[in-house]
């Protein structure tokens, strides 16, 4: 062990001891502790600003992820942190994790307060398969529908944005999201926010591509109009039917999403939830409708009528008794 190695190790140990102070926190990534996210506010302000100019968008954008091409370099994670001002480390450390042992890939991760996207490693026939995970930006988003103060908006560009100045912090959006994406600033006592990928709304509206797409060196991420991305996805599949399964994840799942995936192995083996075409909000819609009809129209007269009938019957009976 040379001197440099020694310092590095002792620092790691000291660091992990510091974190371990908090009972079960030692196995949690640092990004859980991150607070005071800036991306939410920035994107929301941009959204509000653009609403005034009334610019027309004819079609939403999408990112197509070709899972077969991802090499697990995690540059997209780095670029995302960099652009959104989340806690970050040198890009080399991200790239190295592929060959490290133990590695961040040893466990399946999810998004956290200061980490809008993560790449996970799965195995198929002993070959590693890397899968990027971030907000899917559903066409009919569960989080948007679940929010009781209307703090989410679906933009014409495709991104689902979050307004931190309305959020009450109930975390129902996290319950509703079928992809387990929204994360929460649990370590902020006063002004916690929900955080998630914004599809780089601020970049896209400036004519750029999302930060992760820009940083991808293996062509695994492609950004464009959603219909074109779908066409591209099917073209790719049809050209190499032996290489891909015939399924574009996100085309119909939960009513369609603005992130699309193609893959060589079935998606349920890569941690994707098995969803049908029903948008998540549809599951609660009929209940809400029933409640509205019952409460607004039917219940009051019904209950009153029942009361009236019963008390009338009773007074009749009592009248008879008196006679």
């Amino acid at each position: 062990m040379n001197r440099r190695e020694f310092f590095k190790r002792s620092l790691t140990i000291a660091g992990s001891l510091l974190i371990a102070r908090n009972s079960n926190a030692s196995d949690q990534p640092l990004s859980v502790y991150s607070t005071q996210n800036k991306a939410n506010k920035k994107n929301w302000e941009k959204f509000e600003e653009l609403k005034k100019t009334n610019s027309q968008i004819d079609e939403s954008y999408a990112v197509l992820v070709d899972i077969t091409k991802c090499i697990g370099c995690r540059r997209c994670e780095w670029a995302c942190n960099e652009w959104n001002k989340n806690p970050n480390r040198p890009v080399k450390e991200f790239e190295a994790s592929k060959d490290e042992k133990p590695s961040v890939f040893d466990r399946v991760r999810r998004t956290h307060a200061g980490e809008f996207t993560v790449v996970n490693r799965f195995h198929s026939k002993n070959k590693p398969v890397y899968v990027k995970k971030q907000c899917m930006h559903c066409a009919e988003a569960a989080c948007l529908n679940a929010c009781f103060v209307d703090a989410f908006k679906k933009t014409p560009q495709g991104a689902v944005l979050y307004n931190p100045s309305l959020c009450v912090g109930c975390r129902y959006c996290m319950i509703a999201c079928p992809f387990d994406i929204p994360a929460y600033e649990y370590y902020n006592a006063l002004t916690p926010q929900i955080t998630k990928c914004t599809m780089c709304f601020d970049r896209v509206t400036d004519g750029k591509v999302p930060a992760c797409v820009e940083s991808c060196t293996s062509d695994a991420l492609i950004f464009g109009k959603r219909s074109e991305m779908l066409k591209l996805a099917y073209n790719t599949i049809n050209k190499n039917p032996e290489r891909y399964i015939n399924h574009v994840y996100g085309e119909h799942e939960a009513g369609g999403t603005n992130w699309l995936y193609i893959s060589q192995i079935p998606f349920e083996k890569l941690g994707f939830p098995e969803l049908d075409k029903t948008p998540i909000p549809a599951h609660s819609k009929s209940f809400l409708f029933t409640v509205k009809v019952l409460e607004v129209v039917a219940a009051a007269p019904l209950v009153w009528g029942a009361y009236y009938m019963i008390s009338k019957n009773r007074s009749k009976k009592e009248g008879k008794k008196d006679e």
Binding site: R110, L288, A306
Partner: protein
């Protein structure tokens, strides 16, 4: 002024007498629970949810939602069940169950909202949902508004007793007249949000175990709230008739036992309605095969062990007029309802996650909830001793 205070608040004693009379072991225990609870509250407010709870991005809702809100509101349903039967359908025989039932609903809801404040990340914005920004498609929006309205309704129903205590005759009569309207709307509102609490989980079809997920979740929550409500009426009346015996001028034990048996009959009927719905649900989704798994056994424990079994015992005890057994069984039923709420919101939620990664509460989460329960009991006692609730 000090005379008024001594009369109304201290029950005719002076401060020293009042304190020395209340220096009992039970009150001391309550004080200790409250100390831990207030510590937990302060800790959560200062350091945030992260250090105070075991909540995580995978488990955004924990013990507080399951116990304080889902179980708590179901147990606060006496106002719904008894209020309806007595005021609306004129079951006058049960009249002296009504005021305590409504008081417990009122306290149950107020303290559920109080407890919820600690779970909300930005509790100081909670009024946003009432008058600032409406998420009209959210079931949680429905619940928030219903809570708000129902607390007002319970207040109106409770005010006659309150103003009687203050000796303001005019206000008392005014609210007595409003009572029937409050009850009509109370039935609608309470029914609406008891079911909506089940409806909350309709949006998690892939996350909740198929044995618990159903389009009928709202109906299950409503029906189980009904039997929870009746059970709570029996439990409460049993306890308060023991504790506040000196307040009851005329107390006919035989009559009281008969009424309890009458409530038990209603309880059995609703328990069986629930069971039939559960079987229909299993068949409709064709979920029978899930019963042969660990989650299946747990499901059977809930449905057979805490619904069917107590229902059978109740039938037996109503037949043989075993009032004591009825009272015991209602505790059993209530435990079942609490278990059900925990199952839906925590145990069956994220059911595919390995056991060691599942959520369990910190001591602070439990202490805070225990403190809230203690507060409800203390307030209930405070009010019952002063206003004509029981007589």
């Amino acid at each position: 002024m000090s005379n008024w205070f001594n009369e109304k608040i201290l029950l005719g004693m002076n401060c020293r007498e009042y304190i020395s009379k209340h220096a009992t072991l039970l009150n001391f225990m309550a004080l200790i629970i409250l100390c831990f609870s207030f510590y937990a509250m302060a800790y959560r407010l200062i350091y945030g949810l992260g250090p105070a709870t075991n909540l995580s991005d995978t488990y955004p809702w924990g013990f507080w939602i399951s116990f304080d809100i889902l179980a708590g509101i179901a147990l606060a349903a006496p106002g719904l069940t008894v209020g309806t039967v007595v005021y609306l359908f004129g079951a006058k025989d049960y009249k002296h169950f009504a005021r305590p039932a409504i008081l417990s609903s009122l306290l149950g809801y107020i303290f559920a909202v109080f407890a919820l404040m600690f779970d909300l990340g930005r509790y100081y914005r909670v009024f946003y949902v009432i008058g600032w920004s409406w998420g009209l498609n959210s079931i949680l929006f429905l619940i928030a508004w219903h809570f708000f309205l129902y607390i007002i309704i319970c207040l109106i129903e409770w005010f006659p007793a309150f103003f009687e205590w203050l000796g303001i005759e005019k206000a008392k009569n005014f609210f007595s007249k409003l009572g029937i309207w409050a009850t009509v709307f109370g039935v609608i509102i309470a029914g609406g949000h008891q079911s909506a609490l089940g409806g909350l989980f309709l949006v998690a079809p892939t996350k909740i175990h198929p044995l618990w997920y159903s389009a009928l979740l709202p109906l299950f929550f409503l029906v189980s709230a009904l039997f929870a409500g009746i059970s709570m009426v029996i439990i409460e009346s049993t306890i308060s008739h023991k504790v506040f015996r000196d307040q009851l001028k005329t107390f006919d034990r035989a009559d009281f036992d008969n009424k309890t048996l009458g409530l038990a009959k209603a309880l059995v009927i609703i328990l069986f309605v629930y069971l039939i719905l559960k079987v229909l649900d299993l068949t409709h989704y064709n979920n029978w095969h899930y019963l042969k798994s660990e989650y299946g056994y747990w499901y059977l424990l809930e449905v057979v062990g805490f619904v069917l079994a107590p229902a059978l015992v109740l039938i037996n005890s109503v037949k043989n007029k075993k009032v004591k057994l009825v009272r015991f069984t209602t505790f059993w039923v209530v435990t079942g309802v609490i278990l059900n709420r925990f199952n839906v919101s925590l145990i069956a939620y994220n059911w595919y996650i390995p056991l060691q990664e599942k959520y369990y509460p910190t001591w602070m989460e439990i202490a805070l909830s225990l403190g809230v329960v203690t507060l409800i009991v203390l307030f209930y006692r405070f009010i019952v001793r002063r206003m004509s609730i029981l007589s």
